[in-house]
Symmetry: C2
Subunit: 153 residues, 2 copies
């Protein structure tokens, strides 16, 4: 079974290189495709945050991991299944990130903290609702906390 | 631009009908495709929660909304842009939900609180890391809180 997806828009920002860290301050404009009217974003700014689904289009198909690997190829961390980490070299190359909504104007949505480089195709935007956040205590292994140390800084 | 996606697995659970509410107690098994070894899930149970990306395959293409509509067709709520709501009749038909991890065995991942019916194609699984949750206060409009009232109950 193959599913065909068409990007709904594109990321515009100042991040041109694929880098691991320091995404917190990055402001991006998501420019919706002309197929969509500005109505498709109506009332989005009543939410503080949105979830952006995007496509890691710069990842080479041959680099996609289907088993386990050291996150960031760091041998100090255990070999972790690709579905137990958030690395970009993953089957289907889908990224999902919660961003802060800065504002909306026409078909442009301005957001802060989107960890995607300039030109990245956007596949969906959803509002963050409190009820869709974890409903019980979040637990994670030490390697994940270490890996994320400078991610947003 | 068209992107080809292949499901990584399928949802198995007791929910056969498309319904809006009462998803909190639903236990599902995500059965990974044979292309993947159990290594692809290695160490996932060190996390309490995962984010599941899935495909609303039962949504008729003609029903997809590209502008704004009343959530759940309820005229008491305002007309909301499709990207400012989480309804299933959306461009690209992508769902994203945080679930609680119950356990993993081989290529099967058992989760609680996945709001997808039996047979739904799964496109990705990512671990929930605290650092990927909203990093500032979450604000949402009243209609969203009302709509979610019985969603997990």
């Amino acid at each position: 079974m193959t599913i065909s997806i068409s990007p709904i828009g594109i990321v515009k920002n100042s991040r041109l290189a694929v880098e691991d860290d320091h995404w917190g301050d990055v402001v991006s404009i998501i420019k919706l495709d002309e197929r969509f009217s500005e109505e498709s974003l109506a009332h989005i700014a009543d939410f503080s945050h949105a979830e952006v689904v995007f496509y890691f289009d710069r990842v080479d198909e041959q680099k996609i991991e289907t088993g386990a690997r050291h996150p960031r190829n760091n041998p100090n961390w255990p070999k972790i299944g690709i579905f137990a980490q958030r690395g970009k070299n993953r089957p289907n190359r889908l990224g999902v990130t919660v961003v802060r909504i800065v504002g909306q104007s026409g078909r442009n949505l301005t957001v802060e903290g989107l960890d995607a480089i300039d030109g990245t195709p956007v596949l969906d935007i959803k509002p963050v609702m409190r009820e869709f956040l974890p409903r019980s205590e979040v637990r994670q292994p030490d390697w994940a906390t270490e890996l994320m140390k400078d991610y947003w800084d």
